[in-house]
């Protein structure tokens, strides 16, 4: 036989320096110890994080903090409106993101195309979603501001929307007994109501009143008498279904923007849940004569629900903690009320925490820490729910 056998290395045996067994054992031991230390470090980190925040924020934590409105006085400041704002915004976000995300995931996983062109399109949608997941949340904030809040300025200024429903506009006069008399008018841009005798109006309690125009001398202080030449105040009553275009810096715009942020997360986690459903289930459904949707609705989806729920809960906890897009969209505003309709101004928990944390005074830092405790408590509950669902319902199917 000539030449070297085909499996021989080009290098001779001596070109691989022999490493002593002792040294290898030593490096092994060192690496093991370092690994343990590094792994312990993350536990220590979490502990430090929680302890320092608890120490700073403990003093302010009481029921009043959950109910109070933000205040210039740190001792009285509370998280009430921010909590309700978060609830509203996250409800909008979840209600839109879940169906959209799960629908997209079903389409991508269950409706695999056969033709080459459509398959390319499929791959493009997939790549696009991976890419959307990497877009910084602040960019979504800017997009939300331009698209939802201002609607590209197509419908006028957000403060003077060109389209609104669910609002009733009034001009109000103060009568001689000190009551406000409301005269219904056509809308935001109607000319001011002209004062005349016999004008129909309603008083503070909604009773109809006929206006009588009187001069100062004629006034007897009775209800319905309005001084001649009084100027009306414009007043608007918005019902719970009030809707305007553009949306303005309200709950709906905030929720939809957060939806953009978490949508890729929902899609990707739902896809993983669907992918984990064994193919035998699908085949058996199709073999029984089910249509595609019957198969999805009765076999695949029920089997994937625990995984989808876990992903959705984690995505929602991301939405609750997300501050940057809402910061861009709504800014830091001093809000002392809870939202009443989808266009109402709002603030959210992480936003309020940022507001407090960015102030120079130490006492406000303590209040911020208290806010963080509440925020983390909510998020830990969500995480625990996700873990619970995963442990309890996720059975191996194959």
């Amino acid at each position: 036989m000539t030449g070297s056998p085909p499996y021989a290395s080009r290098r001779g045996p001596n070109e691989y320096p022999a490493r002593s067994a002792g040294r290898r054992a030593l490096s092994n031991r060192i690496f093991t110890v370092v690994c343990w230390i590094v792994a312990a470090a993350s536990i220590v980190l979490l502990a430090i994080l929680l302890i320092t925040i608890a120490r700073q924020g403990w003093a302010h934590l009481n029921l009043g903090f959950l109910r109070n409105v933000p205040s210039r006085n740190p001792a009285e400041a509370g998280l009430g409106p921010a909590m309700w704002g978060s609830v509203w915004v996250c409800a909008v976000c979840g209600l839109v993101a879940l169906p959209l995300g799960v629908g997209t995931a079903i389409f991508l996983e269950e409706y695999k195309p056969r033709s080459r062109v459509v398959r390319k399109l499929h791959a493009f949608v997939q790549l696009n979603i991976a890419n959307l997941a990497g877009v910084p949340s602040i960019v979504y904030g800017i997009i939300g501001l331009t698209v939802f809040v201002q609607a590209f300025d197509l419908f006028g200024n957000a403060n003077e929307p060109r389209f609104e429903i669910g609002s009733v506009w009034y001009d109000q006069f103060i009568d001689e007994s000190g009551q406000y008399l409301s005269v219904s008018i056509d809308g935001r841009s109607a000319p001011p109501a002209e004062l005349r005798d016999g004008m129909a109006a309603t008083d503070d309690f909604g009773h109809p009143v006929a206006i009588r125009v009187v001069s100062r001398d004629e006034s007897t202080g009775e209800t319905g008498q309005v001084l001649a030449g009084s100027e009306p105040f414009r007043f608007v009553e918005k019902s719970w279904y009030y809707l305007q275009l553009p949306f303005g810096r309200g709950v709906l715009a905030g929720g939809l923007t957060l939806m953009l942020v978490i949508l890729p997360i929902v899609i990707i986690s739902s896809q993983e849940a669907l992918r984990a459903v064994p193919n035998s289930l699908r085949e058996s459904a199709l073999g029984m004569g089910a249509t595609k949707w019957q198969m999805v609705w009765r076999m695949t989806l029920p089997a994937a629900v625990p995984g989808i729920m876990t992903g959705a809960i984690l995505a929602m906890s991301r939405a609750i903690g997300e501050a940057a897009p809402i910061l861009i969209l709504a800014g830091i505003v001093f809000i002392t009320f809870t939202p009443h309709h989808l266009m109402d101004d709002f603030t959210a928990m992480p936003l309020q925490v940022y507001d407090w944390a960015s102030r120079p005074q130490d006492t406000f830092h303590e209040v911020a820490a208290t806010g963080i405790i509440v925020l983390l408590a909510v998020l830990l509950t969500f995480n625990a729910a996700a873990v619970f669902i995963r442990q309890k319902f996720q059975k191996p199917l194959s």
């Binding site: 792994a39 993350s42 536990i43 320092t52 997209t104 997941a133 602040i138 949707w293 995480n383």
Partner: protein, 342 residues
């Protein structure tokens, strides 16, 4: 045409189909035929079923199209506003990319050179990655190769909690804990400094690096490990010289994903890194990142039509392009260099 197919298209009950297709020679006799019993409920026509299927499919396609539409909206919004920005007399493309000064709010003469902001962003990202990649990778190796099952059961949820902590909390942590400690150790640190923000961003990115790297490590088949052990490798040899190199594409992808997150991170830098845009390499100083600049503009009293306001769109476009490149690179690496085992 066989009898069964006709009956389907004339809208007869779908349930009758199996009965009509039973071959004539089958041994099924009368009692066996009646075994399925009368059809329960109303028979539904197949055409209606087809219509419903089509409607559902188009609804699902609409859902999927929404994500394309989102990307489209991002590109259109950022594109048009950025073009509007460069149309202004105060700025030019040349200045944007070649000037080294970014001072849109201060002073009589405004300068729009993007580099100070990019520099701030890269500094924070650099510090963060020095923390997150080695620590995250080692934790992943530990979880995948070393950890006993019980330790793993503790460590995994802790990492999940760390991943779920909102970034504003990390920002607060950087501002009120990390920075004072740094200033205590070394007096030169500014109240707002890049290092503190970078550390916090690194802590934030650690679980991302860890969990995705761990997935990649777990995907390495047992046979490779067993082969390495069989050749006499120690655990260190096996994990560092065999498993990690085999999972390298996944690890690189994880790191790139973490880079994208760090570049786009907003709340930590807005709280802890300061608001002074300048070209510096000193991590003890404050610096402004691209995201922090956007926060400054949208929180400040800047007119909606001013050049400063528009500049934030240009910065956002820059940020979008940067993260897009990093994300696509990660996607590419994962798709191209993934070693398919089995």
């Amino acid at each position: 045409m066989p009898q069964g197919a006709v009956s389907v298209f004339t809208g007869r009950s779908v349930r009758t189909r199996p009965m009509t297709t039973i071959p004539a020679g089958s041994t099924a006799d009368a009692p066996a035929r009646s075994a399925p019993g009368p059809a329960r409920g109303r028979a539904r026509s197949l055409t209606g079923r087809h219509a419903a299927e089509g409607a559902i499919k188009s609804a699902l396609i609409t859902c999927a199209a929404f994500s394309i539409f989102t990307t489209f909206a991002i590109i259109v919004v950022l594109g048009t506003e950025t073009i509007a920005f460069f149309r202004r007399d105060e700025v030019s493309l040349r200045e944007f990319f070649f000037s080294l000064q970014w001072s849109p709010l201060l002073g009589a003469e405004k300068h729009f050179g993007i580099w100070p902001l990019v520099c701030g962003t890269l500094l924070v990202t650099g510090v963060a990655m020095i923390v997150a990649i080695p620590l995250g990778l080692m934790t992943a190796v530990f979880l995948s190769e070393y950890a006993p099952r019980r330790v793993r059961a503790i460590l995994k949820p802790i990492l999940e909690v760390l991943a779920g902590v909102p970034t504003v909390v990390y920002g607060f942590f950087a501002l009120t804990v990390i920075t004072p400690v740094l200033r205590h150790l070394h007096g030169e640190f500014d109240v707002y400094n890049v290092f503190s923000a970078g550390l916090a961003v690194g802590i934030m990115c650690l679980p991302i690096v860890c969990s995705i790297s761990e997935d990649a490590l777990q995907a390495v088949p047992r046979s490779l490990r067993e082969g390495a052990y069989g050749l006499g490798g120690t655990k260190f040899d096996v994990s560092v010289r065999v498993v990690v190199p085999s999972a390298l594409s996944g690890i690189v992808a994880a790191s790139l994903l973490a880079v994208a997150r760090a570049v786009g991170e907003t709340m930590i830098v807005a709280l802890a890194a300061g608001n002074l845009a300048r070209l510096t390499l000193d991590v003890r100083d404050q610096a402004q990142t691209m995201t922090a600049y956007m926060v400054q503009i949208f929180l400040g009293d800047v007119s909606n039509f001013g050049v400063e306001y528009l500049s934030s769109y240009a910065v956002a476009a820059m940020l979008f392009v940067l993260t897009l490149i990093v994300t696509l690179l990660g996607y590419r690496i994962r798709a191209t260099f993934r070693e398919e085992y089995e």
